[in-house]
């Protein structure tokens, strides 16, 4: 079972990864976007950790909902509302339970990812975060063992954005010139899923 602490660990691991990889995310965004994805994610996750510390939500759902709201209120850009919606809708789907099963989390994350797709109007292959998120949630199953598979899937999905031409977000303005670069949002999504797997490993 996954309790509020697990979700806190997940987001803490995510924040650490974002910190480590911020320059790389910005570099990727500089090739096909506006060179802010790293700082956006860093600002957002720093604020998430701070608000979680301050408000200390007690259920998985509350942790994710609060984190999502904080991202929306802190990040801006495309990734703020999208990641904010991802966490908020996932959190809402988890309800008020003090503990959730990996399978419940998988279902909730599928709801969250669907909300992202609806909000942004993107589908798989558009060269966005969905190209990492969708395969990741596909790979999630009933046990935390599946988290590692989700990580693999997300990473593969992020890598697979390289040959794609962007059809959503800023990168789409580049037309064919967007081909040959990895999507920054798909890359940060892979970080978040990797952090999930990391949290599960620690949890053992």
């Amino acid at each position: 079972m996954l309790d509020a602490d697990f979700f806190r660990r997940w987001l803490t691991a995510a924040a650490a990864r974002v910190d480590r990889e911020a320059d790389r995310l910005t570099e990727l965004d500089s090739a096909i976007g506006d060179a802010d994805h790293g700082t956006n994610m860093q600002r957002g996750f720093t604020a998430v950790i701070a608000v979680l510390d301050k408000e200390a939500p007690q259920t998985p759902g509350a942790v994710l909902t609060l984190a999502g709201r904080q991202l929306i209120s802190t990040v801006g850009g495309a990734s703020g509302p999208l990641y904010g919606t991802l966490l908020r809708r996932t959190g809402k789907a988890l309800g008020d339970d003090a503990e959730v099963t990996p399978g419940q989390l998988a279902d909730a994350l599928r709801t969250g990812v669907a909300a992202v797709a609806q909000l942004g109007g993107a589908t798989a292959g558009d060269k966005t975060m969905l190209d990492a998120l969708e395969p990741a949630v596909e790979a999630l199953g009933d046990s935390t063992d599946s988290f590692a598979a989700a990580r693999e899937a997300a990473e593969a999905g992020a890598l697979a954005t390289v040959p794609l031409q962007a059809r959503k977000g800023r990168a789409s303005y580049l037309g064919e010139r967007s081909i040959g670069h990895q999507d920054p949002g798909a890359t940060s999504s892979a970080l978040l899923i990797a952090a999930l797997a990391e949290a599960a490993e620690v949890a053992g």
Binding site: D34, G38, I72, G76, G80, G120, K168, G169, G175, R177
Partner: protein
């Protein structure tokens, strides 16, 4: 860069704006710039915003006859919904609020979220998207046309209508009309440097230029060997006219991206006017300067806005902001 640390660039600028413009009420903490007399009874409030780095857009356009409030985000990052919610509350006199949103995924999503929240709080809201950039043509396969120079026309002309006391529906329809009547094309001679990245956002050798750029330091649609002012004017004006063959006179905005000297912009304007006269497009007004910028990018954009007598009258109406100011 003339900064302290990247993290405080926007807050520092807002403090500096507050000091320079006592006629504005600048909420540094919450990042909202509001005209001091807001809400103005009987008048629709215009709210715009977007990433910072495009100054004087939007904060420089707050004041009588133009915006009631502006919400600056981080550099090149759209603002968060909380800002627009706060701005809407500050400027709503009961006559409603118009959000003017440049068409970028981030701006659209954040303004949409804000609109939902503000409506929940009882504000009557309308929203207009600005999407004038003809460089992004295949909009089925993109996030759609970007909002660039036309933003100034929409904010000025709809702002004049609001100042005159036009109701929300009318202000909105004028804003929409201005956007539909406007088209832009931009060119970069150098990339811009964001404070956070600290180096140019893309690599542009000095003998080359980018055609069809936006205002966020992103590369354009195509790279070419350097062109003359004359050639660039031909290319840009024709791109605009091809997309929207003019049926009425135009207002011209020759806009600098930030680092192109005014001397060169005026010279470029001479070429723009030449093309327009060759193409027999009557020009009724011309504005030359750095208005919708991309930090320290060198380059320029041309925006044409077709106007009828009413839109021209509203363009000429008094405006009193930090960056645009005329009439009485």
């Amino acid at each position: 860069m003339l900064i302290n640390v990247p993290e405080t660039v926007v807050a520092d600028a807002l403090r500096g704006m507050a000091a320079a413009h006592p006629e504005l009420s600048v909420d540094v903490e919450n990042r909202v710039i509001v005209r001091r007399d807001a809400p103005v009874a009987g008048k629709v409030g215009l709210v715009s915003g977007g990433g910072s780095g495009h100054e004087p857009l939007h904060g420089g356009f707050v004041g009588p006859g133009m915006l009631a409030a502006a919400c600056p985000g981080e550099v090149f990052t759209s603002p968060v919904p909380d800002q627009m919610v706060r701005a809407a509350a500050a400027v709503d006199s009961g006559e409603g609020v118009l959000f003017i949103v440049k068409n970028y995924t981030g701006d659209v999503l954040n303004f949409d979220m804000a609109a939902e929240l503000a409506e929940d709080e009882g504000v009557r809201l309308a929203k207009v998207l600005v999407n004038d950039d003809v460089a992004v043509t295949d909009s089925l396969y993109t996030a759609g046309r970007r909002g660039t120079g036309a933003t100034l026309f929409v904010e000025k002309i709809a702002g004049a209508a609001a100042e005159e006391g036009a109701p929300l529906e009318r202000v909105e329809s004028i804003a929409r009309q201005v956007n539909e009547n406007s088209r832009s094309f931009g060119v970069a001679l150098s990339a811009s440097t964001t404070p956070a990245k600290g180096s140019p956002t893309f690599d542009l050798p000095s003998g080359e230029l980018e055609l069809g750029i936006g205002i966020h330091g992103e590369p354009g649609r195509e790279r070419r060997p350097m062109m003359t002012s004359r050639e660039i004017a031909d290319f840009a004006v024709n791109a605009v006219l091809e997309d929207l063959p003019p049926t009425s006179p135009v207002i011209v905005l020759v806009n600098g991206m930030g680092a192109t000297p005014l001397l060169e912009l005026y010279g470029f304007n001479a070429e723009v006017q030449r093309v327009l006269s060759e193409r027999r497009v009557p020009v009724v007004r011309t504005l030359v300067g750095n208005y919708v910028t991309s930090l320290d990018m060198a380059g320029c954009s041309v925006t044409l806005c077709q106007v009828d007598e009413e839109l021209l009258r509203l363009w000429d109406a008094p405006v009193e902001t930090a960056a645009l100011r005329w009439g009485r």
